[in-house]
Every structure is written in C-alpha cells, then in structure tokens.
Symmetry: C2
Subunit: 298 residues, 2 copies
C-alpha cells in the first residue's frame, strides 16, 4: 500500500449505482469482458506481480450469486458469494496483514469492499424478520426475503466506530487491547450506538474504557475497515483530569504518552530496530494517521 | 424540544454498559423501582404534562423481552419488545413529528434510543445466518441464535448517512425528495456504503443525485436519527462547476439557493407567514442546524 494513503479507501471502481436497479444493465455487464475477483475465503488471490487476481464470469459456478462491485471503465467488476460460509475473522489474519502491506491502495480498496460485501451476504442467507431464505437483489446491494407475505428487504451493514486521540497537557492517551501484538498501544475505540452523536460516543467510550472525561471532541478523518464492515471515525478530544481507571474487561492497559514518546514510536514504524515506550499502530490503521496528524499539527 | 438542541441527542440516561454483561446486575435492576417506557407501537405515550410516560416492570406481560436503556440515577430504565411487529415507518409519522416538537430534548433522546432498539429487535427475531429463532441477550444490546451449532451473535444496527451542504460562490445546493412537504428543500443525503470514507460518500452522493463534483469535504456535526436507526453525519463541501443534472429516480429537483434565500427561509421556520424561495427543514432535522451553522459562519 502507498504509505500515506488511508487503507481501504480510494477505490478506482465507479460504483455506478444506477446499474444496480436495472436488471437489463446488470445482465449486459455480465459478458465475456466482466471480471470476477478471485477470493480464497475472504482473502484475495494475489498474482506473482502483487496485484489482485481476476477471473472471467464463465469460471464461476453456475447459479452463483454475484455482487456488482462497480465499473472499471465500461467493464463490470463482480465478486461471487461462496456457497459455503467463509471462515470470517473479525480481525485481520496474519496473511491479510501481509496483503495489506503488499497491495496498491486502490486494489486494497477493491478487496475491502468485496470482503465486506461477500462476508455480509454469506452471513445473511436468511431473513431476520421471518427466518425464510433470502436472495441477492440489486446487484448485491440488497437481499430480499423469498417468503412473499414477509417481503423483508435487507441492506449491507456499515458499523460506525469512534476512534479517538485524547490529549492532556501535550500527552496522548493510548490503550492496549488484549489481542494486540506485544508492546502495541493505539487509540481507544468503540462502536457508535443507537441514540448518540459521534461526539457522545467518543465521550462515552473514553470514560468506559479509561475513566477519563473529555471535552472539545473534533472529527479528524475516517476509514472504511472491512473486518467485517466498519466505518472508523477518527476524532481528537481534550481531557482536563488525567486520572485513569482502566476497564480490564476491555483493555490490558491505558496510559499517557509524551509527544516525544509518540514521535519516537511513529518514527520506528516499519523499522527493525527496537522502539522506545511503545509500538505504534501500522500505516494501514487509521490510528497511525491520527497520530501522524497530531504530531504534524504540533 | 429545545430549539437549539440536536434532536435525539443528549439523553440523560447513563448507558452503564458494564451492567449489560452482568445477568445478576440486570436482574437486581428489574425491581419495583424500575421503569418501562410506555410505547404505542414505536411511538411514546405522552402524559398530559407533555412528558414520556413510564410503567412499572410488573405491568409488562410476563416473558416480555426487556431492553436496558440505561440508568436514571440508580434506577433501571427499560423498553419492552412487543410480541407483534410494530408498524415501523422508516420516516417519522405526522404524530411522531408532533411529538418531536413537544418533548424536551433529553426525553426525545430517550425515546429515540428506545425506538431504534425496539424496532431492531422486532425485525431480528430470526438468525440471518441460519434462520433459527434468536433471543435477546446482554440487556438487549445483542441477540443470540438459539441453534447451538450456529451460535450466531447479532448486534443493533446504526446506519451512517452522509448529509451535506454543497457551496458554490456563496450559493447552496439543496434538493427535494418526492416525500417532502410542498416547497421543502433540504441537504442532499445518502447512506455511507461499505468501502468508502465519509468524504468519499459525500462526493459520490452529490454526483449521483445532482451531477455535481465536490472538493474540500469537511465534517460539521452529527445526529442520531431513529427512523429506523441512522447516524446522520453532517458535512460541508465546495463545488467548482455549478451545472446540475438531477437524478429523477431520487429527487424531484435540486437547485442552488442564494445566501439571502436561505436566510429568509430559515427565518420563516416555525412562522405561519408565507416564505420566500423554499421551506427550510425544521429544527428537528440536522439539515436545519447545518444551514444555521452555514449562515452563522458567514
């Protein structure tokens, strides 16, 4: 991936949403020029040149449900829903982490939307309203219940997640989730819940996880994150009282790091040398870009 | 509602998420002091004093699924999932619109989270993975599949929606959805899709609906919107080329309005007098606050 890019953003495919609602246009695109993303479960097959691998539509098992990812020029790009549920890790596998470093930004974005969509379809073969089977509709941007008196329509999920840098007198609050690699600290984060603003979600999560009250929450940047389908909403906030009470059911630890410690850790990302106070998150994580933004704004 | 408040935000209930995961703590809260929000379908029953009406937990039919909304002091507040699916309008009914004007901001927020949650539970009684029945878990913040070999876990949805003011040389792009009342124009909006940032969603939606390319997208404010459970993400962007191509499948119209026209329309909100170029959105809509923000920033 291009190191300055936000991972999983910047797809070059044109989503061409008017095609989704036109069965004729969709059928016309499913010709010999169409491309189907080659997936092994939820992970892409990569060519020796380090690019995504695509197949023709004829190579897909007959009757496969096809998701219209978008147009590459005038050519339709699709992903097939596998007949078996793919083993769907909610966090990137080590292999996925390698692919995230390897693939070009826009190809990573194409894989990201395919992963989120294929995973959603595989987990929504039944109607949550009535339990009957569902079928793919509108080029994969909808599933419909097959039970006529139900008529349930279901749409792909995007789960908004607030992820936040909290600052107190020039120091930065970072936490360690149990699943993190050794030494890693990153921004606190949590799902935005029904009935709250982004700013309220930031304040609630920081208080829940670290016992710290925040003010002056500001949005900084966002990132799509296909594990399984989140929208990471990166924010910055201030704390007046630095006293921390760690919620040990969520975090191993939460600490304040000085600007110098953060700068040193960010400087060491991608190097083999030992780092200082902690290991910073990699460039594929929005937390990395938030920390870079924070250091740059001074 | 307090006219300056963001509707459906600012609930005074403490979500107390540690209680959700403790069956003992939940059971202890379900005592004679507990309150259950009185709902008629998805709409609240309002007292003669114009406040939300609450019942005791003993008045709820035995076996009802109860959602833990949060703590009011040390008292648990709940909502019951009805045994029948409530008629769940995806846009506010005229009665809901009246309630939105009537209720105090923090009570509106309490209704909002209850509406989003009750509606989600009522539409997710079956497992989307396997079709078996699901049961409420973790105080209503999860549903679990009852089929042991599936073990599906399902979480309440929050659907992020980008809603945006687009500016060109001091004029503002607003559109008319077919369902709007006569004369109403408001900010363009659309769901953020898997695989895009907020900024990419803004650019895609504006181009899809109005054929206008935007740059310099900035986040302004957010609002929870429980019809059925959106997170409205309010943004501002610039356009260089004002040429509009309206997508008539989405919009009746899209037009540029001068700052004076927007100011006049906003000034007329809530008055009975005839308005100028268009009817501005009401204070319960985030679009209203976006326009107010835009006029104030000058």
């Amino acid at each position: 991936m291009t190191i300055d890019a936000i991972a999983f953003a910047g797809s070059k495919l044109d989503r061409a949403d008017h095609i989704r609602t036109s069965p004729d246009a969709l059928r016309d695109l499913m010709d010999w020029r169409a491309r189907v993303l080659e997936l092994d479960g939820l992970e892409p097959v990569v060519t020796p040149e380090g690019t995504l691998s695509w197949r023709t539509i004829g190579s897909v098992p007959e009757g496969s449900e096809l998701i219209f990812l978008g147009l590459d020029g005038t050519r339709g790009c699709f992903a097939a829903v596998p007949s078996e549920n793919p083993a769907g890790a909610m966090v990137p596998t080590p292999h996925a982490r390698e692919l995230m470093d390897l693939l070009h930004s826009d190809e990573l974005a194409t894989w990201g939307v395919a992963r989120a969509m294929v995973s959603w379809h595989a987990r929504h073969r039944f109607c949550a309203r009535c339990g009957h089977t569902t079928v793919l509709a509108k080029g994969g941007w909808q599933r419909n219940c097959t039970f006529e008196t139900c008529g349930g329509e279901h749409f792909p999920r995007v789960d908004p997640v607030a992820i936040m840098l909290v600052e107190h007198e020039g120091a930065m609050l970072l936490g360690r989730q149990p699943r993190f690699p050794a030494g890693r600290y990153s921004a606190l984060a949590g799902f935005v819940e029904p009935g709250e603003t982004i700013e309220e979600a930031v304040a609630r999560e920081v208080f829940e996880e670290a016992g710290v009250r925040v003010r002056d929450v500001n949005y900084v940047m966002s990132q799509p994150w296909p594990f399984p389908s989140s929208l990471m909403i990166g924010c910055h906030a201030h704390a007046d009282d630095p006293a921390i009470v760690v919620d040990r059911t969520e975090l191993d630890d939460a600490r304040w790091f000085t600007r110098a410690e953060v700068a040193e850790a960010m400087d060491a990302v991608g190097r083999d040398e030992p780092v200082g106070a902690f290991h910073a998150p990699p460039p594929t994580a929005v937390a990395h870009h938030l920390l870079k933004w924070w250091l740059a704004k001074g």
